[in-house]
């Protein structure tokens, strides 16, 4: 059993580390390699290892944050409502691009993973990469992945998309906030959405919507796609 004060200490450490790393990130004009999720996690892993504290205890101590993530998902409805007029005009190209990108994403992930001779569990875990964590774990139970590997793969995909995405989109001369949000939300779920909200509220709203639709779409097609491929 872990005591309540002990839990509170880890929660405070996590929030304080995030606060400091966010300041650093902003002061350095948001370079991708200082993304606060990356820097904070590295520091916390260091502290946990140094203190010989187990991850499962840490996870229980910070469960309030996981609860907050679920509330943040619900809260995306607010910026989405503010963008309802724009949504009404672009929903068709939006859905076409989202579905095509989701399918291409799944097929490439499968081919590369298969080419690298990943075992079945790792390959199935990779397939859930672009779906928001709670859904990804649900899907991986259906197709035979490993839940903790899935959680890390999903976060890694999110961070990669949030770091590389805006840079790539800039090079491809994409300036439309709808397109930016669509790409970041579809390929890197919540972490991409968090990044999109830093670009503009509109980009964030469309990223949140894309994240939701991508999660729904993937949970509908992935189990049948996997039984067809293997």
């Amino acid at each position: 059993m872990i005591s309540a004060t002990h839990s509170l200490v880890w929660l405070i450490i996590t929030c304080a580390t995030y606060g400091l790393m966010l300041r650093l990130y902003r002061r350095a004009h948001s370079p991708p390699y200082l993304h606060p999720v990356v820097t904070s996690s590295v520091l916390i892993i260091g502290v946990l290892t140094w203190q010989q504290h187990s991850y499962s205890d840490f996870k229980i101590s910070t469960s309030l944050l996981s609860e907050g993530l679920e509330l943040a998902t619900v809260a995306i409805a607010v910026p989405l409502y503010r963008e309802r007029k724009r949504l009404a005009t672009i929903w068709r190209p939006f859905l076409i691009a989202l579905s095509a990108a989701t399918v291409v994403n799944l097929i490439i992930a499968f081919m590369v993973g298969w080419g690298f001779k990943l075992n079945h569990t790792s390959l199935m875990s990779v397939m859930t990469k672009s779906v928001t964590t709670p859904v990804a774990i649900g899907i991986s139970d259906l197709i035979g992945g490993n839940a903790s590997l899935v959680a890390v793969i999903v976060i890694a995909t999110g961070i990669l998309g949030a770091m590389l995405g805006p840079w790539l989109l800039q090079r491809w001369r994409i300036e439309d906030p709808v397109a930016i949000g669509l790409a970041l939300g579809t390929l890197s779920h919540g972490v991409g959405t968090a990044r999109a909200f830093q670009i503009s509220p509109a980009a964030g709203a469309f990223a949140g919507l894309s994240m939701a639709i991508c999660a729904i779409l993937t949970s509908l097609i992935l189990p049948s796609l996997m039984s067809a491929l293997s």
Partner: protein, 125 residues
Amino acid sequence: MERFARAWFFSLGIFILWIAKVAGTYLATHYAIAIPGPVIGMLLVFTILTMLGRIPKALAHAAAPLLNHMNLLFIPAAVGLMTLGTLLSEAGVGIAAAIILSTVTGLWVCVRLFAHASVRRKSEI
């Protein structure tokens, strides 16, 4: 006084979001829908906002800090990396390659197709 009002609106907003999440989770499990509870909750709140025609102050106050600091909420999952040392030393390269190639291709397909489909749509109108 203003601080007190803000804290009150924030707490009320969090409570509304929580109710929506619980309702979403209930619907998902009760009707065996393959969509996560919070996503259903989001669609519920969106529907209610559309019916109301405005955003209640409490919701706006609760949503802003949650969405601005979403990154904080991902940290517990990212720290899970520390438990996967042996697995990643075996399969890490393959997993990383699959993640990078599919994400970059996916981003490209997404923005190209969206630009293309939007232009065609405009010329139709």
